[in-house]
């Protein structure tokens, strides 16, 4: 999926109004962008639209939004899903299930949990919280203030749009979403839901979602200034992070959900008598195929403790399981990209040091080795690395390692200090890497705490 062609109509959503747009980027064969950049910014000389609205009054319409998505009374969500599939090339069964999960981001308990865990409750935003500082006679007061944000969204999972809307609303922010070319429709559809369930609510005035081609200086250089925005939130891709980071400076803070790699660690218990190796392989495949392995949580390297023969048995089972349709995976991905195929072919004839299972047709491949492979496994390719003991996996972990799925359970507690000390951000049970909980740290930080500005009245 590249840049949308000039002929694709994308329903931009700007402060509650639907604008059938194309792109803010001028196309050689199409009309220039026709959207006024002035409507995409919030003036710095007045409070954000949600500033005076209590968090309770924000959560209520968000909960209604969740119900609206499920009901989809006007077919807006269904249309967005259809266009997501036909225009952006998304996988139908996979994204159908992903859309069914969208309301869960707007459940009341989930929203309140985020505020409680990340900001100590909505009171931090709703008023001045008194604080007694050591040595001070009088109390000081602190309050979290809304920020104006640009979100460079990732398009590999529609949940990114939902969670970004929820987070921005919870901190009363004003947010411009830069839509990704691989998901042009989810965010605008959800924002139309806000207008449907709470017409006239300041929430409506707090969002805009438009597309321009990433890196287009005629848009980014104009908008990405501290005069217009306080926070720049970037999801994923190295190119996306590098593309906009040039605009970061005093007054415009970068909040980056960095490009990440996830791995699995499987202890020798997997080969013990009575262990269900097929079930373990299924759990490993579940983690490897999250969003067809497009997600940062998807496992790409699996460090398995055992003999080569044992590990090869696991690899065979894993290869079979990679082609199984699951909640977060279709039954196959796009065929393995040509450059990756070249890399894998180079390893095929290196037995006994390397062994390769599976086909390049997108149903899954496994490469078994003594060292992690030099390439980045994608397209439903898993590199299984034989390790003499699970701790050997630690030397291959770094700041880019996000999730480590661990088997058996008892190893999680044993390994988590070591893993997180060297850069890992999340440890979970093998098979659960795709089940993320909002309200806990994300990529090593609490997002809501980064999305506000703190004011203080100090005594």
């Amino acid at each position: 999926m590249g840049t949308p062609s000039a002929s694709v109509e994308i329903p931009f959503l700007v402060r509650g109004a639907v604008i059938e747009g194309r792109s803010l980027t001028r196309h050689a064969d199409g009309p220039p962008g026709r959207l006024d950049l002035d409507v995409l910014v919030w003036p710095s000389d007045r409070p954000a639209p949600l500033f005076d609205v209590s968090t309770a009054e924000i959560i209520d319409p968000l909960v209604e939004l969740g119900k609206w998505i499920r009901r989809d009374p006007d077919g807006i969500v269904a249309t967005a899903l259809e266009r997501f599939i036909t225009v952006c090339g998304a996988s139908r069964p996979l994204e159908q299930r992903a859309y069914e999960a969208l309301p869960s981001y707007f459940a009341r308990d989930v929203l309140e949990f985020q505020l409680d865990e990340e900001l100590g409750g909505g009171s931090a935003l709703d008023g001045w919280r008194p604080v007694s500082a050591p040595g001070a006679d009088q109390p000081s007061f602190v309050r979290a203030f809304p920020a104006r944000m640009v979100h460079v969204l990732a398009g590999n999972a529609p949940g990114v749009a939902a969670i970004s809307i929820a987070r921005s609303a919870l901190v009363k922010g004003a947010s411009l979403f830069k839509l990704p070319s691989n998901d042009l429709f989810t965010a605008p559809a959800l924002l139309r839901g806000i207008s449907a369930v709470a017409p006239g609510h300041p929430l409506e005035q707090s969002f805009a979602a438009v597309y321009w081609r990433g890196g287009d200086a005629s848009v980014e250089s104009v908008l990405l200034r501290p005069q217009f925005f306080d926070k720049l939130i970037v999801w994923g891709g190295t190119a996306a992070v590098n593309g906009v980071s040039a605009y970061v400076g005093p007054g415009l803070e970068l909040i980056s959900f960095d490009p990440k790699t996830s791995i699995s660690v499987i202890g020798r218990d997997a080969f013990a008598d009575g262990a269900d190796l097929a079930a373990i392989a299924a759990a490993a495949a579940t983690d490897a195929t999250i969003h067809n392995q497009d997600a940062c949580t998807a496992s790409r390297f699996q460090f398995v403790e055992g003999t080569v023969d044992e590990v090869d048995r696991f690899c065979e089972l894993l290869t079979r399981e990679l082609g199984v349709e699951r909640t977060k995976a279709a039954d196959r991905s796009q065929p393995v990209p040509d450059d990756l195929r070249d890399e894998i072919d180079g390893l095929r004839n290196l037995a006994p040091y390397y062994r390769v299972w599976g086909a390049t047709d997108g149903t899954g491949m496994v490469v078994r080795s003594e060292e992690p492979v030099d390439f980045y496994p994608t397209g439903r390719v898993v590199n299984v690395v034989v390790v003499p003991e699970v701790k050997a996996a630690l030397q291959h972990v770094n700041a880019a390692t996000q999730t480590v799925g661990v088997y058996p359970e008892r190893l999680r507690e044993q390994l988590r200090d070591d893993l997180c000390s060297v850069g890992v951000q999340r440890v979970t049970a093998l098979g659960s890497a795709g089940d993320t909980r909002v309200g806990l740290p994300h990529d090593g930080f609490y997002p809501l705490a980064r999305m506000v500005r703190w004011g203080k009245d100090e005594s």
Binding site: D339, E343, D345, G346, R348, L350, Y353, Y354, E371
Partner: protein
């Protein structure tokens, strides 16, 4: 191998580009492809595997070759740990899968680094050439002695086209490369030394051979610096090394500039990559040498890109003023192809008749072709010349070609002078890193570019 012999015979014609008619040429190319495919499928493991995977059992038409073309990646698909850990027998095992000849005679006992390994390959008749990309991982492609002889012959029959210098060892030869090492640029120099250069007037940048181990070390450190894994001490040591090498090289450039000045009145043959040509120009200016005055039969070639070096916008014009009187030669090629495509009077690159040019779509799976008129896409080549490896290659270049007649009056196919990197056009991910030291690494050895690339 009759069809192959007939193709090679075209090179011996006064103008190889006009030596064959279009129908006859297509038949020859197809027949040569059949011969080579049958012969090499039995010898090259990765070719046999790819042919099996893609169901290519025979070559009925030239387009049947497309599924069995390989990208550069195939020739660096060995695990880097084989080199890092000195597992030379494993690296040899891998090399055997991309090579057409047996590794049986390769002795790796006591090998200490990758240059040692390359020497052991040579001792067994495998003349590997290598290039170290921006990822820091070198590719290795096998050549036989026959390949070396053949490409030397073809290169000197094409170089300078349409007015090639005579192959009688009469020309002062300047080649801004090391004189030895496993790189195409060096093999190009050696070809010109063999056929073109006057034995008492052959000048190279250095006689210190290209050391792949050192190149790899530099590339790895650049990568480590980029990713923040290098220690401050590593960085300081690297930068000190860069300064030392710059001084060494400066002395070499001064020596070359003086030699160039001394041969100004003779018909010279000169070849260098742009950053090196620029360094030479600076040395010439420091010596106070004047512009111009070169012999009218002199030919100079500046090749490659600028390697991220900040050269002035008009560096090519400045170099042209310096070489005033000489003819500028240009060509387009890549290290994987046996021969480059030289430029004609109309400014288009002519693909030599023994090469088959394919223009592929974004996926690399489908051929774009028209009998005449512009066709744009990814360049790929079927190159029947090689006997040491399989000569089907997909390049990283995005080109506009024309299979019809050229404005210069000769037949096509020709490539327009608008070559871009495919990844810049279709957004392929790249492992490119940028570092001010990169040019120094380049000077130590040819890195990625071909013999001649305008």
């Amino acid at each position: 191998m009759t069809a192959l012999d007939d193709l090679f015979a075209l090179a011996e014609q006064p103008d190889p580009m006009t030596a064959a008619g279009p129908v006859e040429l297509a038949e020859l190319q197809l027949e040569a492809a059949r011969e080579r495919f049958t012969e090499l499928r039995a010898q090259v493991r990765i070719l046999d595997q790819r042919a099996t995977d893609t169901g290519v059992e025979s070559i009925e038409k030239l387009d049947d070759l497309v599924p069995v073309l390989f990208a550069h990646t195939a020739y660096k698909s060995y695990p880097a740990s084989f080199v890092d850990k000195g597992q030379w027998s494993r690296l040899t095992m891998w090399f055997g899968t991309v090579s057409a000849t047996s590794m049986a005679g390769v002795e790796v006992d006591g090998v200490t680094d990758v240059d040692d390994w390359i020497e052991r390959l040579e001792a067994a008749g495998h003349y590997a050439f290598s290039s170290s990309g921006t990822s820091g991982k070198a590719s290795f492609i096998d050549q036989t002695q026959g390949d070396i002889d053949r490409i030397a012959d073809l290169l000197t029959r094409i170089w300078g086209w349409p007015n090639q210098p005579p192959r009688d060892n009469s020309r002062p030869l300047f080649s801004l490369t090391p004189s030895a090492g496993p790189a195409r640029l060096v093999y190009a120099f050696q070809a010109q030394k063999r056929y073109t250069g006057r034995p008492d007037a052959i000048y190279t940048l250095t006689d210190e051979p290209i050391r792949m181990a050192e190149l790899n070390r530099i590339m790895r450190l650049q990568q480590a610096m980029a990713s923040g894994q290098a220690t401050p001490g590593d960085v300081a040591e690297f930068e000190a090394g860069v300064a030392d090498r710059a001084q060494d090289l400066h002395d070499n450039y001064v020596r070359l500039a003086r030699a160039l000045d001394a041969h100004r009145g003779e018909p010279i043959v000169f070849h260098g990559s742009w950053p090196q040509v620029w360094s030479l120009l600076e040395a010439a200016r420091q010596l106070g040498l004047p512009d111009g005055g070169f012999h009218p039969d002199s030919i100079y070639l500046g090749s490659g890109g600028t390697k991220g070096l900040a050269l002035p916008d008009d560096y090519q014009e400045q170099v042209a003023r310096f070489f005033g009187g000489a003819r500028r030669y240009r060509g387009y090629g890549m290290s994987e192809t046996s021969t480059h495509s030289p430029v004609c009077e109309a400014g288009r690159f002519h693909v030599p008749p023994w090469l088959t040019l394919f223009v592929l779509d974004e996926t690399g799976d489908n051929v774009r072709w028209a009998p005449a008129g512009p066709v744009t896409g990814r360049a790929a080549y079927w190159d029947p010349v090689w006997e040491g490896h399989w000569g089907g290659t997909i390049s990283g270049d995005w080109i506009t070609a024309d299979y019809g007649p050229c404005a210069c009056g000769r037949p096509g196919p020709t490539v327009e002078d608008s070559i871009r990197r495919a990844k810049d056009v279709i957004g392929i991910d790249d492992d490119k890193i940028s570092c001010a030291g990169a040019v120094e690494a380049y000077v130590r050895g040819a890195i990625t570019t071909a013999v001649d690339r305008a």
